[in-house]
Assembly symmetry: C2
Homo-oligomer: 161 residues x 2
DNA sequence: TCCAATAAGTCTTGATTTAAGACTATATCG
DNA sequence: CGATATAGTCTTAAATCAAGACTTATTGGA
């Protein structure tokens, strides 16, 4: 049987597949977590994550190519770049925060969550809640019905009689 | 240098690390996507994902061990089980939906998103919005300040003089 | 001038993980 | 009995990753 290769995932007709084709490997979300915590330089990512340099280099290059991070020079002679989140990268915040809060809830540490998030607008520490863009109410898995849109047909199986 | 091994990740003092130690490999979120779409049996996961059977078997076992899925018998003689989301698994919905909507937005397909989500309570198709648990307002990456709580010290490096 | 340090990588080798597909186990159906 | 169905396990080869040495460019100090 023909299994899925990782590089085919980007061509799938599913938004999650295409998302995971970019950020779904074992390291990328941790790199982005650090980026949200203002880690910006190659060696700082390496020290923070204890990731192999070759892998870090490759992942950062992909994130730049996908415009999730951008390289910004922070000195001349020699030119050195740091990696910063783009708007597209910042848009991943809800997904990452949801994963963090799921971990806070289901794999708690003795002393409570190691990082607390404070909402600047209202001043309170908060957890993330998934809300409906139309009515603003909280949404759980059971409150949602899924509708598949007619996909362009891809393969047709003809059954011999 | 001592790199991070994947199995050490669960011991890290970071909720995202502990989360990714369980669901952060290349396949698990796709398995869970299928579970949310009501795929339940081994062979259906295999056909849907085109994943190698050995890997599927191993991932399902881990998800059951972590109580994200549970095995429920659906027939006797021979006993056959199907895999269903637990409450803990259902709690992953916000994170997965956020990833899906990020993909919808940044990797759109020609004909619009392949799956539309309808909020049963209000009746509208919707996108997910990250909201603050305290004030209910939408939250973006720039609206949040992070506070690190004092971590219990784990290693002490003694520098010879 | 020469040597060490800094930053950001690349390259090589051996270990780990994954893909492909054959094989196993159990029970029903014809 | 033999074929089919479901849910796996096992083996081998391919792909990916970890560890750490090596490279390049420049600055600063002895």
């Amino acid at each position: 049987m023909d299994r899925m290769r990782w590089n085919d995932l980007a061509k799938e007709d599913c938004s999650l597949s295409r998302t995971l084709a970019v950020i779904g490997d074992r390291w990328t979300l941790l790199i982005l977590r650090d980026a949200f915590l203002r880690v910006r330089r190659f060696e700082d990512f390496e020290a923070s994550l204890k990731i192999a340099r070759r892998v870090l280099s490759e992942r950062l290059a992909l994130l730049v190519e996908e415009e999730i991070l951008k390289k910004v020079p922070y000195q001349e002679r020699p030119v050195r770049f740091e990696y910063r989140l783009t708007e597209k990268g910042l848009d991943l915040y809800p997904a990452i925060l949801s994963l963090v809060h799921w971990g806070d809830r289901h794999y708690p540490t003795k002393n409570g969550p190691p990082i607390v998030h404070n909402h600047l607008n209202c001043g309170h520490d908060f957890r993330s809640v998934l809300a409906c863009s139309q009515c603003g109410e909280a949404v759980g898995a059971r409150d949602v019905a899924v509708r598949r849109r007619a996909a362009t047909p891809r393969k047709r199986r003809i059954r011999a009689s």
